[in-house]
Amino acid sequence: MRMKRLKKRFGGQTLLEVLLALGLLAAIATAGISLSLRYIDALARANDFKTVSAVSQEGFEAVESIARGSWETLTQGTYGLNKGSIWALQAEPDIVDGRFTRTLEVADVNRDSSCQITAGDGVVDPETKQVTLTIEWTTSGRDLSASASKYFSNWSNDPDDLCASTEAGNLIINVDGAVLDNTKKQVEGIVLENTSSVDVTIDELTIAWIKCELATPCVNPEDYTSPGNTFSIKINASDVWHSSNGIGSPTGVQPSGTTIDIVDVVIPANTTYPLDRIRFDSKLDGSQFTITATMGDASQTEVTTDSFLP
């Protein structure tokens, strides 16, 4: 009886206590292992991100090499990189260190009339490309990716071509070959050169002329006259202004110095158009002409010919 009482009072752990202890142990162990695994995973991810950064940097330097070596190969599309004796683009993504897949996306870049990069509007600037580099890899069974983007410019071309500040800066009115025809009422042989890689638009032309008639030689402005009127203007085989048939404005023949709103002439990139003729209603031999072109962006360029000797 006494033994029974003692046994009851000083008995060992009950099954419930043992289970509770084991449960606690399991919970602590699980938390510890989970924490360790997370620590190891975080270390692996951190190391992978360092590698990804290096792989991206190498990729952009390789693109810089390609851009400087052969800009024309940098066309819109998706590529990988191929390292032979030089860096080159390849159709498929490349795999670095057996586990980092590197993809390059080359995209055209548009610029607005202020030369600012714009999404969608404006015109494609062939001297600028946007390259987006994406690295994809797997860490601890998880698929991860990182992207970075950079603009590249074709520095091998004349910097003026990269992004001219105005349209007028891209237009040359070449009067080296300008002549008066046999009637002496028509100027021919002027050439309009768009030297840039973007289109330019001529909106208006101002034709002014002076003839030395009142003094020998002419010294002062009052020694000159401006006889006759402008009758019509033809560029690249099309009338862009005509005094009598309603093309352009104003209508009617126009005196020297009048700004004529011609039908807009768009000269494509790196293209030359002939200014076929400027016709007048009088003989203008001995006159010196000044031609001012006002462009689509309101910028202006001006050129003056020598006097056309009689």
Binding site: E61, A62, G69, I86
Partner: protein, 180 residues
């Protein structure tokens, strides 16, 4: 008396052995974990030394070379130890390696150090006493119209006792294109 003794009885031998056993079961993995953690800390520190050293050295080489006017014909390509010589606006900058002896603990060990020499100025070490350069190779990847090189750099921790805990190694391959 007997009754009182029985009432105030401490742990039985079996209970004590049980507790020691449980403690041992808990302590063994815990000690191992702490030991591994401490080891990891040392290894991580060595790894950082190697990684930071390599990153700094490559950043310095890349920045100088990118803005350089040209790469000199004195550059030693395709072999370790290589040497890179660039012309930086009239000043010659040389990146190469040299061997030197350093003391770690009580041991003298020979390590290879990456250095930069700018003009007539004294050379500046780019890697620390705790790491050695295993590989410094320059490869010419220049296309027509541009100058491009590739640098392969491998560093490891100076580890005279070949202790696994103190071992760390990292390698980098980077491309540099001159901007002028």
């Amino acid at each position: 008396m007997k009754q009182r003794h029985a009432q105030k009885k401490g742990f039985t031998l079996v209970e004590t052995i049980e507790y020691i056993g449980i403690l041992a079961i808990l302590m063994i993995p815990l000690t191992a974990l702490v030991w591994t953690f401490l080891g990891d800390q040392v290894q991580q520190s060595r790894r950082s030394e190697v990684t930071d050293g390599g990153t700094f050295a490559l950043a310095t080489i890349s920045e100088t070379t990118r803005s350089a006017a040209s790469i000199s014909a004195n550059t030693v390509y395709d072999t370790h130890p290589g040497s890179l010589e660039v012309d930086d606006d009239g000043t010659t900058v040389v990146f190469d390696t040299y061997e030197r002896t350093v003391t770690q603990g009580s041991q003298d060990i020979t390590i290879r150090t990456l250095r930069m020499t700018e003009g007539a100025s004294p050379a500046v070490d780019l890697t620390s006493d705790d790491v050695t350069v295993d590989n410094f190779t320059i490869t010419d990847l220049s296309p027509t119209g541009a100058t491009t090189i590739e640098i392969t750099l491998q560093l490891s921790s100076a580890n005279p006792s070949n202790n696994k805990t103190y071992y760390a190694q990292n390698s980098w391959t980077t491309t540099i294109t001159l901007r002028r």
